[in-house]
Every structure is written in structure tokens, then in C-alpha cells.
Symmetry: C2
Subunit: 415 residues, 2 copies
């Protein structure tokens, strides 16, 4: 792993070698998240846009030299990444854009962007010789972790808030995870998982605790750039809960700028649900973060204590990113607009990004001629109850043509 | 479309040109399904394993010269096909195989194999200048059709049995379809859709009615062969409802044999749910088909009147295929085995194929050293209620380490 120069604490700045420390900075404790620093000169000799052009591996592992894993580490079998980047014509027309792109992360193996991080996490767990793994999650990280663990024969222990959507719980159980539905919030599940991991020696995937997950998440940015022929978009919209995907997107574009593969940094716009927006508030007011009691239908970003706040706020400042909030109604509207104008079905947290774009467009924060990428971070099938709030379920009809005719008349009259 | 020699009725054998007839044989009525006959010599000059090796389009459209569409027809935007073909090590070990492959069709845009047929159907609808489209479906064909229609701006009218899983209904509604939940079975929804299509002039995607859908479905066989470097597997297991995917698989391998790209035909094994097995019975007893009242948790193959029975039974005879049945319990067990040994989550109908393999293996129908492909036709997220029948949902715990310890002790004691 000579591509890694150091793991550097975001709080105290102390640097460690990868073998020296497992999760956070020993000096600063759980808030001392470590960032992976790379030797870009070395990496440049191993991978380039030219070498990628010849690479037939259309998964996140095409970027292996840019990931924090050993060169000879086996790759887990589920196919992760290289998700479609669409430029949906009808959506562009509807919203008045010409270069609006949708990155459909619901096409990953367990149907969310989190599969990118879990794949890297599993490689790290195997490098350590772990047999048991754990994480706390609002749902998506958990199901991706359990699926990836199952694919390589690791036992998984998962902590979720008991309110997690049934679809995500079903995934976990089908993948054979032992799950702990915690009577409490995601934030309580998170703390309990850290304790249990330490007590039982389970390898821990927790977001903003394990330093390697942001590295998995950054592959979405690498792909966006490559799919746009190494031309950075003007803006990228991304939904924000803990702020880890946000930092992943920053990290990916930072890598590319450091390598000289893109020539400017896109503006990254993080979108939180109004009812769960502590990062937005901290960014907006420039004040220390304050925990909130999260209330939103967007379960994957329903986070009151954003674990990656330090790194995320630093990234926003360094790279001149923006934060914004959207209401649950705006999220449901974005879900309908996306489905109807592109055939892509995103979960509420997954389309908060699009709701953000729609709002930003109205507010003049984004210009119609700009190249904009909206990351849809999870599939709508993961949370059907919320999706059904966005639509009206029609009444059943008798199996006769006259019922169809009657129904159509009614449908026309109230449309 | 000079690659098409004729559309030939499976009942009377009469041949038509593609422009001459839209759906079924005018002489035989709705049962006179038309089969697309190709000019393989011409096709051989347009596409070959060698040209495919250089083709960067990893979707079903890499096989465009082998599909019943005009060369210049625009391709709908959603990325369909080139789904992963896994050889999961743990699943192979568990079931005692060495060359067992899983084709994960849940990775398609709306999470089922049906997206292959819908993509081709949409191109045909656009070629006809249609603005409105329809279909009847147990759920998957409908959601794929509605999604594909939305992606190109066509209005969709969908007939489903009112019992269709909520996830599939949610997809339809998000995609903006007008849906008719029919008080009755899939079979009644099917008949009503044909009537409505004829009454309102909507372009009809119905299975075993529209001749082009089998052609979309066959791409799964083309991909399997290409992913195995043009070596046909020994056996392919596929779940069967109407028998259209079954005929699609036959057609794909038949195309490849006709083109000389494979040198033998794999044995195709169709698997029905015991409670919905009219095709199995007709095949087994060599008698005319008799409708049944379908009862199975596998909603996508819960079919009492298999619409493609004539073609499917003919294909089974021509190519020495087999049919078998599995119980709902065997289906739920297959769902668990697949999830736990590979990290792939299939819906009940999607894993009936694997349940079939497990049974066939016990009965000596398949040998452990054979190369076997199991098609998982849909994602488990499409039917969470059924998935939850396969697992036990644990009780919530208090957020304390002692609760975790107590829980683990209990978990160990009953495992």
C-alpha cells in the first residue's frame, strides 16, 4: 500500500501509517476521523485516463490504484459501480436544462451508493483477517454491508433504528445478518455499535469512524468525471445525512484535480431534509454544530448527529461548496418528476438531491446552461411506504370494458 | 428490417411480412402467436463474436442486428442488460457444484428481466408512431413497461390484478402510468387489456400477443453465452409463468446455434410453482393444457392460463427441455440460500429457478460437475412481504451493551 502516504487526523492533524491505527485518531478519540493521503505521483505511474480507456473492468475496481487497498487483495464478487449517467431528455426539457445528468446509484447490487463503500470495507476486513463485521446504519449501509459480507462468507452484526423501512430489514435478514433493531434513533444505534464492536472485536464499517469508506464513496465522482470524458461538471447535487457521501464526492474530485485529470473543481451542493439539517445550519451560521431530533420521510438522511461533520464542513469551506435544505413535500415532488420524466425511481433520500436542484434553479443558484450532475443515491424500491405517499393509489375496477371507460372519464375529469 | 424473413404463426404456420400484421395471426386469432424468423446469413455479415469483442456498448443493444428493430431506430435511454453473471464460490460449495452461475436480472433498470422485452417493445411502439401504450401484467412487465414508456415520453395504461405487490404498484404510479387494478386474476386483467387496447388504439405489449417481446427476452441467453466466451452451459434453469421468458431463452440459444456461435444446445429447465403449474402438467402428461386457479407466493409466475403455452411446449419438445415444479417453501428456502451464499436478493418468482436446481440436484437430474446457469429474474425488493416470510424479524432491543449480550446468548441458544 505504498500509494498511501499517511492517515491524517482531521482534528489534530497528526499523521499515522495505515498499519498503525485502525479507525479514528488515538489522540482525539471518535471525532478524530482519519483521512487517507495519497502519493499522487506514484499513482500517476500506475493509472491514467489512457490506461483506463483500455480497461475492460467496468466496476469501481478499475480505480484500484487510487483506492486504499493492497494491490494483491482479492476483490469481492458483487459487481459494484459504473452505474448509468443519464442525460434524460424529458427531464432536461421539463426543468429547462440542456446538460442535466442523473447518476443512478440505485443500480448497485443492494440498490444504493453505499455498496461502493461496503466493497472497499470488505476488502479491508479481509486484509485484517476479520471473520465478523458490524455496522450501524439507517438502512442502506447496513444492507450493502450485509450483502457484501455474505458474498465473501463473513458474519455480519447490524444495528439499525427499529423504524428502518421493512425493505431494508428484509434485505438484511435474507443476507443472513444478525440484526439488532434498536429502540431509539440511528444516533443511538451508532453509539451502541461502536461499543459492541470494541467489546466483541467485530470489524467496524461505521461511517465517519472507519477511514476507508469515504474512499469507496469517492468512486462515484471518479466515474462521473470519466463518463463525462474527464470534463468536470459545473455543479454536483448530493443528498446529505452524515456527510460521508458528501466528503466522498469532494475527495473524488480532489484526487482528480491532484492527478491533473480534470482542470477545475465542480461546485458541490449538499442537500439536507429540512427536518434533519444540522449540517446545513452549522454551515450556514458558521457556528459549532448542534444536534437535532431528525424528522423526515427521507430515512437514509434522517440524521440528528452527522458523524462526518468536521470533514464535511472543512470540505465545503475548502472547495467552496454549498448546503441547502428541502421539505418532505419537495422530496416527494422530485420523486414524481424523476420517475415521470426519466423512468428512474429513487428513494426519498436519494432524490433529495434533485429536489435541491429544482429549488436551486428557482432561486438562481444554478444556471440553465450549466452542466449539472444529480446523484440519485438509492432505489425507490427500498422504501415503498414513502413512495406511496407521493402518489394516489386508484380504486380497483371490475374486469369489464365499461369499467375501463368509466374510469378513464373520471380520470380525465380530475386531471 | 431485412434481417427478418417472416413472422410465422406457431399454430397454422402461415408466414407474414413484418409490415403486414401487428400482433397475432389474423387467421388463428389470439392464440396464433407469431414467431420472428431471421436471415442468419445476412445477420452474420453484420455482427460476429469478433465484432462484439470490440463493441463498447454493454447493453442489449450490442445485439441490435439480431433484434427485430430498424437499424436506424433510436434506442430508449434506460440502460438494459449486460447484467452480472456470477460464479458465487460459497453457493457452489454449499450446493456441491463447481460451475454454477447466477444471472442476476434484478440489476436491470426496473429490477427485473422484463426490462429486456420492454426496451424492444418501446422501440416497436416508437417505430409505429404510437403515443399511448398498454399491457397487462402480474407486476414486473408492467413496471418495466411504464418505466420505459416514461423514459421516452409515452403515456402508459396498465392492467394488473388488484393483488399485485405494493412495490410494483408504487413503481407504476411513480412512472406516471394510469393503472387499472382489476378485481380478478392476472388472466382477467390480460383479457381486459386486449379489449381495451383494441378499443382505444393503445400499442400493446402483452406477453404472447406482441411477437417482439420474446426477442427482447432472448438477449439474456445471448449474454450468458457471450459471458461464458461462447461456450454454451450444460443446463439453464428458468422460472416459468406464461412461458415467455422460457421461449426467449430457447430463442436466444437457437439464434446462436443457427449462427454457429455455439456448437451445442444447452438443456433448458423450466420451473413452475407447484400451485401454478399448468405448463408443467401439459408437458408432463403430453395432454392439452388445462387452466388452473393459481396459488403461490411467487406472484410473477402466478399464472393459471399460460399465454405462451403453444410456443413454450413446442420449444421444450424441439430442444429436449424439461419442466419441473417447486413448492412455496422450497422457493423461500432458495431465497435464503441465495442471499446468504452470494449476497444476491431475488424475488420469489425470481428464485423458483434456483429452487428447481436444488431439487434437480437431489433427484440426480443435474450432475455436480456440469456448467449450470440459474436465471434470477427479479429483485427481492419487489416483494418484501414474501421475503419477510422467509425470515424471522427479531424483537427490538434497548440501546445498551447488556441488551446486545443477552440477545447474542439467546441467538446462540436457538441456532
Amino acid at each position: 500500500m505504498d500509494q498511501i502516504k499517511a492517515l491524517k487526523c482531521v482534528l489534530c492533524g497528526k499523521e499515522y501509517s495505515p498499519g498503525e491505527v485502525e479507525y479514528t485518531c488515538p489522540a482525539c478519540g471518535p471525532e478524530g476521523i482519519l483521512e487517507v493521503l495519497y502519493d499522487y505521483e506514484l499513482i500517476s505511474r500506475r493509472i491514467s485516463p489512457r490506461s483506463l480507456k483500455e480497461d475492460p473492468d467496468f466496476s469501481i475496481w478499475r480505480y484500484k490504484p487510487l483506492l486504499p487497498v493492497r494491490e494483491d487483495s482479492p476483490i469481492p464478487p458483487l459487481h459494484v459501480g459504473w452505474t448509468p449517467l443519464y442525460r434524460p431528455r424529458l427531464l432536461n426539457e421539463k426543468l429547462g436544462f440542456s446538460h442535466l445528468f442523473i447518476k443512478d446509484e440505485g443500480r448497485n447490487p443492494t440498490a444504493s451508493l453505499k455498496d461502493r463503500a461496503s466493497a472497499v470495507g470488505i476488502v479491508k476486513a479481509l486484509e485484517k483477517g476479520a471473520r465478523e463485521v458490524t455496522c450501524a446504519s439507517t438502512g442502506n449501509a447496513a444492507s450493502s454491508w450485509a450483502g457484501a459480507a455474505a458474498s465473501v462468507g463473513l458474519k455480519s452484526y447490524i444495528f439499525v433504528p427499529q423504524t428502518a423501512p421493512r425493505a431494508k430489514l428484509a434485505q438484511l435478514l435474507i443476507f443472513g445478518a444478525t440484526i439488532f433493531p434498536v429502540k431509539g434513533s440511528y444516533d443511538q444505534a451508532f453509539d451502541l455499535c461502536i461499543q459492541a464492536s470494541s467489546r466483541f472485536g467485530w470489524y467496524n464499517r461505521n461511517t465517519a469512524f472507519n477511514p476507508y469508506l469515504v474512499e469507496g464513496k469517492k468512486t462515484v465522482a471518479l466515474e462521473i468525471a470519466e463518463q463525462l470524458a474527464w470534463k468536470a461538471p459545473d455543479k454536483v447535487f448530493v443528498s446529505v445525512g452524515d456527510g460521508c457521501i458528501l466528503s466522498g464526492v469532494f475527495k473524488g474530485f480532489a484526487d482528480l484535480l491532484n492527478l491533473g485529470w480534470i482542470d477545475r473543481f465542480p461546485q458541490i451542493i449538499g442537500v439536507q431534509a429540512e427536518g434533519a439539517s444540522p449540517l446545513y445550519r452549522a454551515w450556514k451560521e458558521g457556528k459549532p454544530f448542534e444536534p437535532v431530533e431528525p424528522v423526515t420521510i427521507a430515512d437514509s438522511i434522517s440524521v440528528g448527529i452527522p458523524r462526518n461533520r468536521v470533514m464535511a464542513l472543512r470540505d465545503l469551506k475548502t472547495w467552496k461548496g454549498l448546503m441547502m435544505t428541502v421539505t418532505d413535500d419537495e422530496i416527494l415532488e422530485a420523486m414524481r418528476v424523476l420517475g415521470r420524466q426519466s423512468g428512474v425511481f429513487g428513494e426519498p433520500a436519494g432524490v433529495a438531491s434533485l429536489a435541491g436542484l429544482i429549488k436551486a434553479s428557482k432561486e438562481g443558484i444554478v444556471q440553465k446552461e450549466e452542466a449539472v450532475v444529480v446523484i440519485i443515491s438509492g432505489n425507490g424500491l427500498k422504501d415503498i411506504s414513502s413512495a406511496l405517499k407521493a402518489v394516489r393509489m386508484p380504486e380497483p375496477i371490475e374486469p369489464s370494458l365499461s369499467s375501463v371507460e368509466e374510469y378513464l372519464k373520471k380520470a380525465t375529469s380530475f386531471q
